[in-house]
């Protein structure tokens, strides 16, 4: 919302400084986002009088104009066709001045003639939108040649850009802002007064009724108070009828008539005010309706009376299948939920949203019917949303305009239109208001306000504040006020709203800060929440970096990465790429890896801990299941040295998982073969993957990515992926519980080595575990230290070498016992794995 300082001062009847306005409005909750000063960038631009003009010697479209700029006569070359005759006034940019657009005015040769300055258009001076010709200035006592343009045309103003919250429709017009300022900086005893309409210059004395007889008739003359208007006789207009058929959607509908207007451009003052407020001037009648909207925040609509077929206005819901052309030229198919204004034959306006092309004000308009109504806000909003038509009008109606100001606004509007367009106001007007809107009554308790704000409340101050905001206040019992809320503030409905008003007007900064007494909650933070954090931290400790991908991905990515299809679809996605919620973290991490390889990175070690979405689980099947997953993707150069030839492999990934599970559960990770992974983890290499088990709990999968996926994504090398379920990890961790310390060994250990040649498909883990079992409690650890392939080990076999550490926790071992035990291990290795000793 753009707000003119000059207009505010006119309404306030006292002067305020720009800085105060900006500061106070922001402190009152109407955030001033930007302040722009107008009329200050026009140094060197003056009024000049045309002394003569003649054609340019060589250029058809140019003329040579002699001007008097208050000091001397200047000859300039001008391209406009509307240069006035001698005696006319124009805006003249002297040599050395700079136009608001940045153009520096210097002597320029145009077709061989030197131009000493420039005659400007509104657009060039940024004081209007007209660029068709130069600005021709009407004579007044301020327009002496040589006078600064900003002074002569009274261009100085300050415009505030307000960022308004949707609860404050009252501030979508200057009157509301002035009322607000009055409460914020005015005198406590002086209430804001709504501006009183002034009588138009001309009033109609009708020879026959202009309205069908109606119980809703009222006289605008009562609104204008003192009269002094010139009476105008009008005849030949058929009486208009009004019918509101949907009063619940249109609780109030006022209409007035202005006759004998002459459509043309508005005076400069009007056009300039619209310009600084970001509106384009269109014609006198339309400009007047826009001024009413910007002034009172109450949109009105002007119909060309002649175009209303059957001299009839009806407010009703549209019929399904009905269509209309709105002002923007679009054909609109209407919905049975849309409220429309109709004439005798069909819709002529989409209520509160936009007028129809068929009843539009045009160059030939003579008589104007002005509508000022209160439409049901949700109705306007739904129509606006459905049609995609967000207008200045719908913006206000959907937030709630003031239903009580209809007569006053009609009176202002009629007078402005009549005076701007040379018409006459018809004093008889209509006001349908079958069921006046009820006002909220609230008791304001000082004690309650003090408790909520944690501050002392001055009841007299509160009373004055509420009154200045437009409330009706009466003190009741001690320390309470009975407050009736004004209809221009639909946001005020409860006591707490008044408490906010008080705090807002006195300023939040006047409320002291204090710390509450915290009562510790017996519940605390759920272990699952703390566990997720530990998972993230332990993965980072293991050397991985954390990714944060979007929760929504494309269904194609799921298919490509061979993870389950998602049942959680977004109904209104921004793109197909982000249209379903992920069922796994793999698609996101794969995208990250693809980019990384594209950027010629040599290594990727990313992980993500986030929610993945599954089928609806609850009985009513409304919300998808959500669970935390840990996904980790590794690829490329091993980090152990600056040798770039070593590539990360399965065991690096397993080592990282080991580090993670050690941190989380205090136990190592196991990887086991499980053929069901063919179906459950089709994204992994069938010969290079396994199920991940921690403390006997299956927590996820680990393996190289399936070569098909590597191929589809155009990846290099052999990426390794792990996906763990965080809840399962937590369960495993709980199984282990808190680890207890063991005493350090008091007796020495004895280490023997054992190497056995076995077939390639015998796993080292299997051998180690048989050795361990055979040695029983005497073996402290059985640890693989070498795998050897090649001569003299036969093809298809490998040599596995183990360190076996023997220790008896209760006594020193004898060599004899160790020798005997080791011999048993040797024997079993030969028997069980058909191995041979090396």
């Amino acid at each position: 919302m753009l707000v003119s300082h000059k207009w505010l001062v006119e309404l306030l009847e006292f002067d305020v400084a720009v800085d105060d306005v900006a500061k106070q409005l922001t402190s009152g909750g109407l955030e001033v986002e930007h302040v722009r000063r107008w009329g200050e960038n026009l140094t060197g631009i003056v009024i000049a009088e045309v002394r003569g003009k003649k054609p340019h010697p060589s250029r058809d479209k140019l003329s040579l104009v002699t001007l008097f700029d208050g000091v001397a006569e200047q000859e300039v070359v001008c391209g406009a066709s509307n240069v006035p005759d001698a005696g006319g006034l124009v805006a003249f940019a002297r040599l050395g001045s700079t136009l608001p657009g940045g153009l520096k005015i210097e002597e320029r040769k145009l077709g061989g003639v030197v131009s000493r300055g420039m005659i400007c258009s509104e657009k060039e001076l940024d004081i209007g939108a007209d660029e068709d010709g130069i600005l021709v200035i009407e004579k007044s006592r301020h327009t002496q040649p040589g006078a600064a343009l900003a002074d002569a045309l009274d261009l100085r103003d300050t415009v505030y850009t307000l960022g308004l919250t949707p609860n404050r429709p009252d501030c979508l017009g200057h009157v509301g802002i002035a009322r607000e300022l009055c409460a914020l900086i005015g005198d406590d005893n002086k209430a804001f007064t709504f501006p009183r309409p002034t009588s138009p210059r001309r009033l109609v004395q009708a020879t026959s009724p202009l309205w069908q007889k109606s119980e809703h008739a009222f006289s605008l003359a009562d609104q204008y108070g003192s009269m002094g208007a010139e009476p105008v006789k009008v005849s030949g207009i058929a009486p208009v009828s009004l019918q509101v058929s949907a009063p619940e959607r249109c609780p109030r509908y006022g209409a007035a008539l202005v006759t004998g207007v002459k459509i043309g451009p508005s005076a400069f003052v009007v056009r300039y005010r619209l310009h600084v407020l970001g509106q384009r001037a269109i014609s006198n009648v339309v400009d007047a309706t826009n001024l009413v909207l910007l002034g009172f925040g109450h949109p009105i609509h002007a119909f060309d009376l002649r175009k209303l077929r059957g001299s009839r206005i009806e407010v009703r819901l549209a019929k399904a299948g009905e269509t209309m052309h709105t002002l923007d030229g679009q054909a609109r198919a209407l919905d049975a939920d849309d409220l429309v204004i109709c004439d005798g034959e069909g819709p002529v306006a989409l209520a509160g949203v936009m007028g129809g092309a068929n009843s539009e004000i045009g160059p030939g308009t003579e008589h104007v019917l002005i509508e000022c109504a209160y439409f049901d806000p949700p109705t306007v909003r739904r129509t606006s949303k459905r049609t995609g038509l967000h207008t200045d009008s719908s913006h206000r109606f959907e937030r709630g305009v003031d239903p009580s100001d209809v007569r006053a606004v009609l009176a202002h509007a009629a007078a402005w239109i009549a005076d701007l367009a040379g018409g006459a106001v018809v004093p008889d007007a209509l006001d349908f208001y079958a069921q006046p809107t009820t006002k909220a009554h609230v008791t304001f308790r000082r004690a309650r306000a003090q408790a909520l704000l944690g501050a002392e409340i001055d009841l007299a101050r509160a009373r004055a504040i509420f009154a200045r905001l437009g409330c009706h206040v009466t003190p009741t019992a001690a320390d309470t006020l009975a407050v009736t809320m004004p209809l221009h503030r639909p946001d005020l409905a409860r006591e707490v709203d008044l408490i906010e008003e008080y705090a807002r007007i006195v300023g939040y900064d006047t409320i002291a800060t204090s710390l509450p007494n915290m009562r510790p909650s017996p519940e605390g933070t759920a272990p699952a929440i703390r566990f997720v954090r530990r998972v993230r931290e332990s993965a980072a400790s293991a050397g991985l970096w954390e990714a944060v991908n979007f929760a929504f991905v494309s269904p194609a990515d799921h298919e490509k990465a061979r993870v389950p299809a998602s049942e959680a679809r977004v109904a209104n996605p921004m793109s197909e790429e982000r249209s379903v919620l992920r069922t796994a973290l793999l698609p996101g991490l794969l995208q990250n890896l693809v980019l990384s390889q594209r950027h010629a990175q040599k290594r990727f070690a990313g992980y993500e801990v986030a929610r993945v979405f599954g089928a609806n689980t609850d009985a009513k099947a409304t919300l998808p299941s959500e669970r935390y997953e840990l996904g980790a993707l590794l690829w490329g150069m091993r980090a152990s040295s600056y040798d770039e030839r070593e590539q990360l492999d399965f065991y690096d990934a397993k080592g990282m998982l080991e580090s993670i599970t050690h941190a989380l559960a205090g136990v190592p990770v196991e990887t086991v073969h499980d053929s069901s992974l063919d179906a459950q983890a089709p994204f992994l290499h069938p010969k290079r993957r396994g199920r991940v088990r921690v403390a006997g709990v299956d927590v996820g999968v680990l393996g190289e990515l399936h070569p098909d996926i590597v191929n589809t994504y155009g990846l290099e090398g052999r990426p390794i992926y792990a996906a763990l379920d965080v809840a399962a990890l937590q369960h495993a961790s709980e199984q282990v519980g808190v680890r207890k310390a063991s005493p350090l060994p008091r007796f020495p250990a004895s280490t023997r080595d054992l190497a056995v040649v076995v077939a390639e498909d015998v796993s080292a883990g299997e051998v180690a575990s048989v050795l361990h079992d055979t040695a029983g409690t005497l073996a402290e650890t059985v640890k693989l230290f070498d795998i050897y392939r090649g001569a003299p080990v036969p093809e298809g076999q490998k040599s596995l070498a183990f360190h076996v550490v023997y220790r008896d926790p209760r006594a020193t071992l004898t060599d004899k016992l160790v020798d005997e035990t080791h011999a048993k291990l040797t024997a079993i290795a030969e028997q069980r794995f058909r191995g041979t000793l090396r």
């Binding site: 909003r381 900064d509 710390l515 996101g588």
Partner: protein, 370 residues
């Protein structure tokens, strides 16, 4: 030659040679080898000792003493020479060339928490230290929890503040029944429905809005906190948030509360903190005049605060009685405050991240910078 003569000759040879042999040794292994030639298991002196029984009884004692003396002499000389060699080696290393310490280190690389996670943990810890519990809620939630129970009126422009992603519903179900939460305030509703006051809870996580441009991401991170008890006031809200913001941005940073509107709080407000980038709040800023300049006198307007000296950082307010009514708390008995803020913006400020896109691009070149 008699045994005695041979023995004497052996002793003489050893005594004459060892010293030169030790001096000739240039390093520890050579010295040890030389020493072994005299006192080792096959050394000259050791062999002589083994000949002792063959010596005549009357001379055995005297010759034995001489052999022992010589052995001790040699051992002393060895120890002395060894010490000299070690010292010389140490001196040589200490005065010799340096290790090439410019070579990169190796071993496991450290990992990185995402900047958003790191900041999230820090924010949660700040509130944890004040006694707030941490809670979480689902990312897909009911319309009721995201809007209705928070007091958003149906068909009201307040919902425009949060353009929503709705989830697809089976035919016959209200098409707006479930959605991707647009704010973490859903957790307020869920926790209040689940628990009874007193409670102080903070929650952080991903939220979603249909917005995608230079300053908006369709998914972003928010943190939300609220406290409900008897006697909780706006003054407490100001106290807790001022404390929090000064812990986060620095003890002296100015904190400014001004009124604003969110349907679920009343009175509602927004909080600004002094711009940490340009510290423009130190210069009194007058609206409509030249905005605060960047440090170093740059003419450019500060990116973080747009020259106002203050940055809008969070929304807050006293929980609206309508919210209490919806969760079954007595609004006459209990009061509470709530606040929420975006984590992304604070992360960008703190880490000097120039574009929002970097936070969700997961480029390791970015993630491993911080």
């Amino acid at each position: 030659m008699t045994a005695v003569a041979a023995f004497e000759e052996g002793l003489g040879n050893a005594a004459a040679q060892y010293s030169d042999a030790f001096d000739a040794a240039r390093d520890e292994p050579a010295l040890r080898a030389a020493n072994a030639r005299y006192t080792g298991p096959n050394g000259l002196v050791t062999k002589l000792m083994k000949l002792m029984p063959e010596l005549p009884k009357e001379q055995r004692r005297e010759l034995g003493q001489r052999a022992n003396q010589l052995k001790e002499e040699i051992e002393r000389a060895f120890a002395q020479r060894l010490d000299g060699l070690l010292q010389a080696a140490r001196l040589a290393e200490l005065s010799g060339p340096s290790l090439d310490i410019s070579l990169p280190g190796y071993g496991a690389r450290r990992g990185y928490l995402h900047p958003l996670t790191r900041l999230k943990h820090e924010l949660l810890d700040l509130f944890g230290a004040l006694g707030f519990d941490i809670a979480e809620g689902p990312e897909v939630d009911l319309h009721e929890n995201n809007f209705d129970r928070l007091g958003f009126p149906a068909d009201h422009p307040a919902t425009d503040m949060q353009d929503t992603f709705f989830m697809q519903q089976p035919p016959g179900v209200n098409p707006r029944a479930t959605l991707l939460r647009t704010h973490t305030s859903t957790v307020q509703i869920r926790e209040m429905l689940r628990r009874k006051p007193p409670l102080a809870v903070v929650s952080a996580g991903a939220v979603f809005r249909r917005d995608d441009d230079a300053t908006h991401s369709p998914m972003f991170m928010q943190i939300e906190g609220f406290m409900v008890d008897e006697g909780v006031s706006f003054s407490h809200l100001k106290g807790v948030l001022t404390h929090f913001l000064q812990r986060l941005f620095g003890a002296n940073v100015p904190v400014r509360f001004r009124p604003s509107y969110f349907p679920f709080v009343e009175p509602g407000g927004e909080v600004d903190v002094g711009c940490t980038l340009c510290r423009g709040y130190e210069v009194i800023h007058i609206p409509g005049q030249q905005p605060a300049a960047l440090p170093g006198g740059s003419a450019e307007v500060c990116r973080a605060c747009k020259g106002t000296g203050f940055m809008e950082i969070l929304g807050c307010g006293m929980i609206h009685p309508v919210v209490f009514e919806h969760v079954g708390y007595d609004p006459e008995r209990y009061t509470g405050f709530a606040f929420g803020m975006g984590i992304d913006r604070i992360a960008m400020l703190r880490y000097g991240i120039p574009e929002l896109g970097l936070l969700y691009g997961n480029d390791p070149r970015f993630l491993t910078q911080l």
